[in-house]
């Protein structure tokens, strides 16, 4: 460690000396002065990082530790937090709404993320073939990603998939052409379909991963495709044997990001269900239930325990993704 500490400033001093032959103030310095300079640089760095350290302590790590403590208490903001040991965690084991919220969230994540990524990759492949007007298409497809998480779009979704909403109007007139008058459900108010409408909303926001895929596809040398073609590989073979392996780091990156995002879905479910997670808890996302417990009923202890479970789930998934990535992600050699 000391060797490292002494080496670097010496190298820096050399450089300074060489650069400063024109009469600059920087001359080769003795080791002690260099060490002092390093200390000064450290202090400067901590100065620049001061807001970040403060935020890390007060807004991020402090609250994480505090929520671990609160998860062992019964606390409603009024009065003190009463230590109840593992009671909150025990309650989780037989809380049917918690189980429902986990089921809803997992279903959402495992259906919508693969669909969204498949769509993103497919469009990126089409756009990557030197299509004219690429920036325009890219912008149009990307726009929903920017708007998708907003209250306004959630309101729009509620209207489109409502009983007499846009989708049903279109289906009815399409059915009318064939002399059919199907009885259509109000998609958002039917427990069978409500979650499906939110899955569609998430797939609709495929633009962000698509832009990342596009950037990744650019990195694949054309040469590989030409070589594969010379060897007689068709389009499907080229996709599976050239594109996919070389793109695995990007696929992995998108998968981790979009899964984490999907686990945190809140706004859409909150607005579409009017804050209830209904109909009959079919859109009771985990974060929505956490909100109801923490800020509806002010069960801060239970909400903290739920927050920790969420942290564990997301941490666990990220870890599994990273471990599994060793077997399928190809980083080149």
């Amino acid at each position: 460690m000391t060797a490292v500490l002494n080496n670097r400033p010496a190298a820096g001093a050399d450089r300074g000396g060489a650069g400063g032959t024109g009469g600059g103030p920087r001359l080769p310095r003795p080791g002690r002065e260099a060490a002092a300079r390093r200390r000064r640089e450290s202090l400067t760095a901590y100065g620049f990082l001061a807001p970040w350290f403060l935020g890390l302590g007060l807004i991020t790590i402090g609250p994480i530790i505090a929520s671990l403590y609160f998860s062992f208490t019964d606390y409603s903001l009024i009065g003190g937090a009463d230590w109840v040991g593992l009671e909150n965690y025990r309650r989780m084991l037989d809380d049917p709404r918690l189980h429902q919220s986990l089921a809803v969230t997992f279903k959402y994540v495992f259906i919508s993320v693969p669909l969204q990524l498949a769509m993103a990759l497919a469009l990126a492949m089409v756009l990557d073939r030197g299509v004219r007007g690429l920036p325009l298409y890219r912008s149009v497809y990307y726009l929903p990603s920017l708007l998708g998480g907003s209250v306004a779009v959630a309101i729009l979704w509620r209207r489109i998939f409502g009983a007499n909403g846009l989708i049903n109007q279109i289906l009815e007139s399409a059915g009318g052409l064939f002399g059919l008058s199907p009885s259509l459900p109000g998609w958002v108010s039917d427990p069978e379909y409500a979650l499906g409408t939110l899955i569609i909303l998430n797939v609709w926001t495929f633009g962000a991963p698509m832009v990342i895929f596009l950037a990744g596809l650019r990195q694949i040398p054309r040469m590989y495709y030409e070589a594969a073609q010379v060897d007689g590989a068709g389009p499907a073979r080229r996709f599976w044997s050239v594109t996919v392996p070389l793109l695995t780091p990007i696929i992995f990156f998108n998968l981790v990001l979009q899964m984490i995002n999907a686990f945190q879905t809140f706004t859409q479910a909150f607005v579409v269900s009017g804050g209830t997670g209904g109909p009959s808890d079919s859109t009771l996302f985990y974060t929505l239930y956490l909100y109801q417990e923490g800020f509806g009923s002010f069960n801060m202890g239970y909400a903290s325990a739920m927050a920790w479970l969420l942290l564990m789930i997301i941490g666990g998934f990220t870890a599994v993704n990273f471990l599994a990535s060793k077997y399928w992600v190809f980083y080149g050699d």
């Binding site: 670097r8 300074g16 650069g19 400063g20 103030p25 920087r26 450290s42 400067t44 901590y46 620049f48 990082l49 807001p51 970040w52 935020g55 007060l58 807004i59 991020t60 609250p63 994480i64 929520s67 609160f70 903001l77 089409v126 299509v131 004219r132 298409y137 912008s139 149009v140 497809y141 726009l143 929903p144 920017l146 708007l147 907003s150 209250v151 306004a152 309101i155 729009l156 509620r158 489109i160 846009l166 109007q169 609709w204 962000a208 832009v211 596009l214 950037a215 990001l257 984490i260 995002n261 945190q264 809140f266 706004t267 804050g275 974060t287 909100y291 801060m300 903290s304 920790w308 969420l310």
Partner: protein, 308 residues
Amino acid sequence: MAIDETGTRARVRDGRGDRDQERARRREAAERSERIRRFFIHAGLILFGLVMLYPLLWMLASSFKPTEAIFRDPGLWPGADFTAGNYGDGWTALEYPFHHYVINSLIVVGASVVGNLIGCSMAAYAFARLEFFGKKLFFAVMLMTIMLPVHVVIVPQYILFANLGWINTFLPLIVPKLLATDGFFIFLMVQFIRGLPRDLDEAARIDGCGHVRIFWRIIMPLSLPALATTAIFTFIWTWNDFFAQLIFLTSPDMYTVPVALRTFVDSTTQTSWGPLLAMSVVALGPVFGFFLAGQRYLVRGIATTGIK
């Protein structure tokens, strides 16, 4: 002999001509099929884009239709139904006129942008240019905070801010930005600053500049593209953010646009969908504007760091 020769030559020339023509014909055919292929790709992409945008266009169109026409007609053109009345009705439908909420949102968003620009760029300079004890560890911690869901820390944050008396003020929304809690933007700027040539810093240091001046006079001006990306993303994300604003803002006079829209939708009956959609259009307007103005920065931002 001579005839023969010219004959052969003529034949050769003819043969060559045939081959050339054949090649040209084939090239033309290939070009034609390429053009057809391209036409279908574009037609497909445009059609798909229209399907993607239809809900948004429909919302815009519906905001100019009387409510009963919204339920009757799925088309885009308001035609004879055209009315701008929804905007007037929506503007005054809630406890405060809608611009009250827009101003609140602008205060929160403006302060968040300034906070992120200052807090994150300072942290980024340290990570990108300075050597200090624990750098690797802190950098790893910073990357991990990007992945941390806000829901994990929201309960104790609420308790903290409640104890400070900050509930129902804008402070819980703004102060964390100034304290550089958006690790994503630190990362974005670190990546950018690392790409700037170090010679400039060195030259400035030889001229006697300290780190504060190097940061302020050299790195910041050169980082304008990264700062623009940060500002645009912060604007859009904060403008759209609902969860934190819903929790920390409790009385209608402090409501921001998303929270106000939510109370609107909860009080909406079948008859007021027109005004509600009109106000939703108003809520999306600034995001759309920033999207148009800053596409370049947005695309570069996601492509280099890869987050929504």
